[in-house]
Amino acid sequence: MGRRKSGRMKPLNLTVSPSPHCHSGARITGVSFSFLLALLPAAVLGVTYYGFDAVRVMGASVASAMLAEALIQSVFRKPITLADGSAAVSGLLLALILPASVPLYVVVVANFAGIIIGKQCFGGLGANPLNPALVGWAIIRITKTWGGFLDFDLMLINYDTGFILQYPLAVLKARGPEALSRFDTLALFLGKQTGGIGASAVICLLLGGLYLVVRGVIRWELPLCFLLGVAAVSGIFWMANKTTYASPLFHLLTGNVMIGAFFLATENGSSPVNRWGLVIFGLGCGTFTVILRAWSIYPDGVVFSCLLMSLFVPMLDKLKAKQIVARPTPLTALSKPAEERTRL
């Protein structure tokens, strides 16, 4: 019998690897770059309104987010992943929902809190249960001394932007829907409203968000259901009592709804993946946004509703129908003569 020899086929230093042997070329850096590109129009509009102050906040925010990520990763002795751009996106998103005149130390603290507590403590990109930018914002917002820094009416009082320097949602909260007649719907849509540096640029965010959807960077189900949720629930409130609650259109065009639907809720680690999970997540975010706007002490509820729904993600991930796997039947069951089993 043949002698067993090993290595007859001598290795010719060819490369071997598992399949597939080609790649679409997608990178995490590319995803982050698409996000930055989609946010660029909103950021530019913010700079035209608030000038250097907006640049200052955005620069400090992006820089401190990246610094926080690099620091915590070197402390944890993990590979430093600044190149994937996720920290920069997170920093820019946080800046865009802040008022332009917020002190820089608040920005830095918010970013350090968001990146370290919201993201790196859980294992970094993809493992974060909450959106780091929102964690940073929420921590500042609920503090007693610094919460006022996120109040747009107080912070933006010294600017001359050419439109009404009152935060529409604060006006709604304080004086009810009759006072909203001062706000022109078209002006709100074109971004001529008080708010975060980029969060108020509704049309820019809509275009950027649609760009992300068309490029396939974010799934279309989530923003659509978010906006549907806001429209439906605010519609119910409005139909029930038009003297107390604002119209759905007003809710869609003000506050953080646009940036929330396209950029904040769609963060990968803190949103579900399967379709029904995305639908429920989006509808839930929209619903809680309107409920918080109507009944909480805060004028806007987007950030808290996104954080709240992110906590449901492990449950929403289980919504997918389980796969049926056929296990083999033993060959002994086939011992009947084949002629009896065939149909010919």
């Binding site: 490369t15 399949s19 597939p20 049926i324």
Partner: protein
């Protein structure tokens, strides 16, 4: 192959290459290497120095025949780990004389009146025991609902099977009829890529239903054909059991079966597509089974450089060779040479949970979880998520922005599930058990701590120089 749409809400589509290339017949090399799966040298009846003739069965009775494809002398018998990870016995035959066929290969005199078992035995004897993936006694073949004869290629870069369909369309109907008869299937389907509908018009359709399949990967994979056009589940099995109700046979194999019943000759040749990243035009060759790749590369005038990648059966779900002595087998469809500069390198990066893999998966698996569960050795969760349904098409790893080796993770989980720890575990038991349940994690692929993977980059294992 091209990326048809990367834009949009629609998942990216990889179109099959649709090209016409006449088949060039390659001469028989001096030395042929025959690969026999799941056998050891002790299973062979021949030894080094013996003379063999074409069609001679080299094994003892048992798992189905293993035929010599040339007449000559056995130069070496070795066992080796194949590039696909399975164990093989390699028999090297020096083909020094013209083909003389084994008298044991018999034609069937009266094919129209032959019974199914007689037909199956002849097909089994001619080396087509791989028809239903289990090499068992032909009288024990499991019941089949649907037979699909596929004119589609398995991989986007292969054009061999569609060329065979173009060239021999008149024989396809006889092949369909024969396959229906010997398997006892109630339905026979001829799957044709949409662009070849004009060729398929000459098929009358009395023997087989012609379906036009969009030429988009992975529609040509047997599992997908069985799901979309067959009885739902591709037949597969091993010594323990069998599952499925649909058999998928390529046009080339189906025609080889017909010709073996008429002439008694086994399948000696295989049509393959050769392509390389340098000269883009793929070319079809008809080669003797057992031809080493080095012979083919020599004929097309291409030399392998160090760190090149030789890929058999396509760039999406094929496997790479350790050596250019690797022979062409009866299941090889294409050979692709990738230069070292074009080799794609996977990253040992954590999942970002973007869900791209889930949107492209043709069998609707939750690949984002499968990858992570397999990475950390939680195989009972993989079982619950249906990892065994994976068809290994490679689309998930193709689109992954983190460049994770997702197919590798899934195959790893599949193999772990087939180890002793999981034998006989039903889905219900796996669902009932939590991660701390009774099923122990079997193997770990690699230690996930970053110090262990300081290079942070790996491409399977590169062969040591």
């Amino acid at each position: 192959m091209k990326l048809r749409s990367f834009f949009g809400i629609l998942p990216p589509k990889i179109a099959y290459m649709l090209a016409e290339s006449p088949v060039e017949i390659l001469d028989v090399p001096e030395k042929l290497t025959l690969l026999c799966p799941e056998r050891t040298p002790a299973d062979l009846v021949t030894k080094v120095g013996d003379s063999v003739i074409t069609g001679q069965d080299l094994t003892r009775n048992g798992k189905g025949p293993f035929l010599s494809t040339a007449t000559g002398q056995i130069k070496a018998i070795t066992d080796l780990k194949g590039p696909d990870g399975h164990d093989y016995v390699a028999v090297t035959v020096k083909a020094d004389s013209p083909d003389s066929f084994d008298p044991a290969l018999k034609t069937i005199e009266d094919i129209p009146n032959a019974g199914p078992v007689e037909l199956r035995s002849a097909i089994n004897r001619a080396g087509f025991y791989a028809l239903n993936a289990i090499s068992i006694d032909p009288s024990l073949w499991p019941p089949v609902d649907v037979v699909i004869v596929s004119a589609l290629d398995l991989d986007p870069i292969s054009i061999a099977n569609q060329q065979t369909f173009r060239d021999h369309v008149e024989q396809v109907e006889a092949a369909c009829q024969l396959l229906s008869r010997c398997t006892g299937a109630s339905r026979c389907v001829l799957a044709v890529p949409e662009n070849l509908s004009h060729v398929a018009q000459s098929v009358s359709g009395s023997m087989a239903t012609v379906v036009l399949v969009p030429p988009v990967y992975p529609n040509g994979l047997p599992e997908i054909l069985a799901r979309k056009y067959g009885g739902g589940l591709l037949m597969r099995g091993n010594e323990e059991g069998v599952v499925g109700n649909t058999v998928v046979v390529s046009v080339e194999h189906a025609m080889a079966m017909v010709s073996c019943l008429h002439s008694g000759k086994p399948q000696l040749e295989k049509t393959i597509t050769f392509s390389s990243t340098e000269n883009g035009e793929p070319k079809n060759f008809r080669v003797r089974i057992g031809t080493p790749l080095a012979h083919l590369l020599h004929k097309v005038g291409i030399e392998t450089q160090p760190k090149d990648k030789l890929i058999l059966n396509g760039i999406m779900n094929g496997y790479t060779c350790f050596s250019n002595e690797q022979p062409i087998t009866s299941t090889t469809d294409s050979v692709h040479l990738q230069r070292a500069s074009q080799v794609f390198v996977f990253q040992n990066a954590p999942c970002t949970n973007c869900g791209k893999c889930n949107t492209v998966c043709p069998v609707d698996l939750e690949v984002n979880f499968l990858g992570r569960f397999s990475e950390y050795g939680i195989f009972d969760k993989c079982l619950v998520l249906g990892v065994e349904n994976c068809v290994e098409c490679g689309l998930c790893a193709y689109v992954c922005p983190a460049r994770r080796p997702l197919v590798q993770f899934i195959v790893h989980a599949k193999r772990a599930i087939n180890t002793e720890a999981f034998r006989g575990v039903s889905m219900e038991e796996a669902m009932a058990s939590d991660t701390q349940g009774p099923i122990p994690p079997a193997i770990k692929l690699f230690d996930a701590s970053p110090q262990e993977n300081s290079s942070n980059q790996w491409a399977g294992g590169k062969v040591e120089e």
